[in-house]
């Protein structure tokens, strides 16, 4: 124990005595961790943005076109499925949701930008968004809409709160926080009547059927019965199942998720190289001093502990600024893009673990020189 304490104190002294080198070393480690953290943040943005609408739907079970994979892909189904689902034992209510991708006109720049228009029956509970539920009456007038407050700036300023979608004027009467995704710069929530007027879509074709179950209903049994009753063109999922299915799709079924993971691996590799250079130079610069320690009776184990503690200290010193910088950069990205780019506590812990692994791996590589070091080389 005494030896370990001595090694930790010694490592700390070795690490901090040259301030310039310390700053450069911590900067290098921070850079590598920042690379990894940003990739993780981007991946989170991809995954969270893909399911953020789904999360905000007030439903126990969702019935969708079986081709609707992922959830944000546009695939409608006939509203007859809604009534078929409603007939199943245990289903209390069924609400339709209409979704369309339309063109929003930036009135300042006269440019068109895609926007997701979500239509719903204001008399039926559909969303878990307080801003929508508390002001739902405002949507009863045809030609009114709520605009996503996290929409990108590309939609431009709205003089008199009047916007233009599909060359039709629409009055923005409220807002709600949702966020952009990799397909659209924002969303509009409108009543069903405004939706049909705006999109010219038939009310008979709906995007999603939102089912709420009776209190105490057995979810598995309801899903089983829905599978029996509904025709093969649609499928029913619990909300949790659909979230899991979508996350799985984006995690494993898309190149972008793999690319972002590769980014994390590359960041790790860059970090190992940077750490190795730092630690190897440290060892090389003090080779005769380490050899003297061996001649004095210190074993390889002590010197290994010293270098490994140095590597862990480096990872800890690089971790803190990387988390601060990374969070700031992701917040700036979220602010400018509307994407939910952030890292949680779990991600920060993962980066911490990656930091320690990265530096200890580099330390292990740098130690090869110390292990073979013969104090006789002092002569």
């Amino acid at each position: 124990m005494l030896k370990l304490v001595s090694a930790v104190v010694f490592s700390f002294r070795l690490l901090v005595h040259e301030r310039g080198r310390l700053i450069a070393s911590v900067g290098g480690v921070t850079f590598a961790l920042l690379l990894m953290l940003l990739q993780i943040g981007f991946r989170n943005a991809l995954l969270d943005s893909a399911i953020q609408l789904l999360r905000q739907l007030d439903a126990d079970v969702l019935v969708i076109n079986k081709e609707k994979d992922p959830f944000l892909a546009m695939n409608r189904m006939h509203n007859e499925r809604l009534y078929q689902a409603l007939s199943v034992e245990g289903v209390e209510s069924a609400s339709p949701l209409w979704v369309a991708l339309e063109q929003w006109k930036n009135l300042e720049e006269q440019t068109l930008h895609p926007i997701r228009v979500i239509g719903f029956n204001p008399n039926k509970p559909t969303f878990l968004i307080d801003e929508v539920n508390e002001n739902v009456d405002k949507l009863n007038r045809i030609g009114t809409a709520f605009l996503d407050s996290h929409s990108r700036d590309s939609y431009g300023e709205l003089p008199d709160d009047v916007a233009q979608v599909n060359l039709r004027e629409i009055k923005i009467v409220g807002s709600f926080p949702l966020g952009t995704d990799f397909e659209v710069d924002g969303s509009l929530i409108v009543s069903d009547e405004t939706f049909f007027e705006l999109t010219r879509q038939s009310p008979d074709w709906i995007e999603i059927a939102l089912l709420r179950l009776k209190p105490g209903a057995d979810m598995d049994l309801v899903l089983e019965n829905l599978a029996l009753i509904l025709p093969g063109d649609v499928r029913a999922f619990s909300k949790a199942q659909l979230i899991d299915r979508d996350l799985d799709y984006w995690r494993t079924g898309t190149p972008i998720s793999v690319i972002l993971l590769v980014g994390v691996v590359l960041g790790f590799a860059v970090g190992v190289v940077i750490c190795y250079q730092i630690l190897y130079t440290e060892v090389l610069d003090h080779l005769s001093e380490f050899a003297t320690l061996k001649a004095m009776g210190y074993g390889n184990d002590y010197i290994q502990i010293v270098v490994m503690v140095e590597s862990v200290l480096l990872s800890a010193l690089g971790f803190v600024p990387s988390i601060l910088l990374g969070s700031l950069m992701l917040a700036a990205l979220g602010w400018s893009s509307g994407l939910p780019a952030s890292v949680g506590l779990g991600d920060a812990l993962n980066v911490g673990l990656l930091a320690v692994s990265m530096c200890t791996l580099a330390g292990t590589l740098a130690l090869r020189k110390v292990r073979t070091l013969e104090p006789a080389e002092l002569f």
Partner: protein, 233 residues
């Protein structure tokens, strides 16, 4: 491995070569030498005569290739880790170069040697202070190597080698960087360790200012023991 002997150093038929096969160059030939506990021996000889190689063999920094080498009861022909580290901890090694870590103060450098002897932990800090003060560095305990002169650094290295009161001191030109006064102090310390604490001292030097402090003068020429004179006789 330890063996029962009352000699501090016992060398018999010791050979040593650098390199292998046809490139091998033998530097030590059939060395026979024994030192008693508490003896202060100086080893001299021309450059390349094998003095430093012999010193490094006795310090278990090299492994003997032929002959017998017993030091402080350890058979160095067969000594392996962790006994090897334990053996080295009984020694005080003074190298020609101080090899001090730039990050450590004079006190901390000497403490590195003290940390290997937890049994003396309670008194080690006082001992370090006293020894550095004795070596004229009492006002420079918190100085790092770049703040010290060459001679001061060498004295820190000497303190590092002596602070744990080793059973055997192996010194390679320890006074080369020191002025007359500090040379006297260092020799006084070594003589005190030898005669009052029974520490065996084997010092390689060309510095004839120090010969009179020694009990024995060993001369090595071309890898062979040329003379071994007991000065006290």
């Amino acid at each position: 491995m330890t063996s029962a002997t009352n000699k501090a150093i016992e060398i018999a038929g010791l050979d040593y070569s650098f390199g292998t096969d046809e490139t091998a160059k033998q530097v030590l030939f059939e060395i026979e030498l024994a030192l008693e506990p508490g003896e202060f021996a100086i080893m001299t000889g021309p450059s390349g005569s094998g003095k430093t190689t012999l010193l490094s063999l006795v310090g278990a920094l090299r492994r003997p290739q032929g002959g017998k080498l017993n030091v402080l009861g350890h058979d160095l022909n067969t000594l392996e880790s962790p006994e090897l580290e334990g053996y080295r901890q009984q020694l005080g090694f003074i190298f020609q170069l101080h090899n001090l870590f730039p990050a450590l103060t004079a006190f901390q450098s000497v403490q590195m040697a003290g940390d290997l002897h937890p049994e003396a932990a309670g008194q080690m800090d006082d001992r370090i202070r006293a020894l550095l003060t004795q070596l004229g560095l009492g006002e420079r305990l918190d100085y790092r190597p770049h703040q010290l002169s060459g001679g001061q650094r060498q004295r820190v290295a000497i303190a590092r080698a002596l602070v744990h009161r080793p059973a055997l001191v192996l010194a390679d030109e320890p006074t080369a960087a020191l002025d007359g006064e500090n040379t006297k102090i260092v020799l006084g310390l070594l003589a005190e360790l030898a005669h009052e604490r029974g520490t065996t001292v084997l010092m390689v030097t060309q510095d004839n200012r120090v010969f009179e402090s020694a009990d024995r003068l060993i001369n090595l020429v071309d890898g062979r023991l040329d003379s071994d004179v007991r000065l006290s006789e």
